[in-house]
């Protein structure tokens, strides 16, 4: 096996693992909106109202 073939085989082997990882990704960590984006949402055609809904009230402790 030539060095090039060996390299290709190694590359392909690694890619198989990478492919499976790429096709079964963990969910990305959430990054929540800052105030600028909140403003952008508010201004954005005013039609995406659900995103601007206030969060569900949490039950009070005690």
């Amino acid at each position: 096996m030539s060095p090039t073939e060996k390299f290709t085989e190694e590359l392909t082997g690694i890619q198989s693992a990478d492919i499976e990882a790429a096709l079964d990704p963990a969910e990305a960590d959430g990054i929540y909106r800052d105030s600028r984006e909140c403003a952008a949402l508010a201004l954005f055609k005013g039609g995406f109202g659900l995103l601007l809904s206030p969060p569900t009230p949490r039950p009070k402790k005690g």
Partner: protein
């Protein structure tokens, strides 16, 4: 060889491929994604891997615009299907992605025969949380094409409100890829709440995440589906 460099390399190749598909969807031309010149050697291995990761969407222009794929595009697609079958114990998304590619190949290349068209198991989607459902559907957005009927599309069809909730959650988390994938599914589902504002939501996802070709591809696919360009 350093393994650490392979994954970003593959990610870059997938993004380049997705850019080509987006361009083809906009122009109505062929994607030229599966470049025949890249079918041999190391670059060829990377190109094939990229096709495998993008999955059935690598031939999305042919599916949505009904433009017959070029023979060399089909050949590279077929090679990717054959070169990277799911490994033993592969995750459901890996198995379903491969199934979707085989289904696409059958549709676009009727002469292709590679065994029975048995659907993989989709039980993992039943009774799962709406968050996980949306995540998995986002990964499998290539299955969200008009006329597709399989266990995954049926599972999505039974839970339009959950997918809508997942879409909103993804936007709020700024997970643009998941949001775009969920939005693409929602264009196909019946019973999506009107209050969602899907059209504006897709605009927003494109505005915020559209510089990522994988996001742009999903949004473009959603728009074409909504516009009925495939009819």
């Amino acid at each position: 060889m350093e393994q650490s460099g392979t994954s970003p390399l593959l990610q870059g190749a997938v993004q380049d491929l997705a850019s080509g598909v987006v361009s083809a969807l906009r122009s109505g031309d062929h994607a030229r994604a599966a470049a025949p010149a890249a079918a041999d050697g190391e670059a060829g291995g990377l190109a094939l891997a990229a096709v495998r990761v993008l999955g059935a969407d690598a031939l999305l222009p042919a599916t949505l615009l009904r433009t017959p794929p070029l023979p060399d595009e089909l050949a590279v697609f077929r090679k990717a299907v054959e070169a990277f079958p799911p490994g033993a114990g592969a995750a459901p998304t890996v198995v379903w992605s491969h199934w979707a590619m085989r289904r696409t190949l059958r549709r676009l290349d009727p002469g292709h025969a590679d065994g029975p068209d048995e659907e993989p198991d989709a039980a993992w989607l039943e009774d799962t949380t709406w968050q996980l459902l949306t995540h998995q559907l986002g990964v499998l957005a290539a299955l969200a094409v008009p006329g597709e009927d399989c266990a995954v599309t049926r599972a999505a069809g039974r839970r339009p409100v959950d997918v809508a909730r997942g879409f909103v959650r993804a936007v709020r988390r700024r997970d643009w890829r998941q949001a775009a994938g969920a939005g693409r599914w929602l264009t196909l589902l019946e019973g999506v709440p009107q209050t969602l504002g899907l059209e504006n939501g897709l605009d927003f996802v494109e505005l915020m995440g559209g510089q990522d070709p994988l996001v742009a591809l999903q949004v473009r696919a959603a728009r074409l589906t909504r516009a009925g360009a495939f009819v």
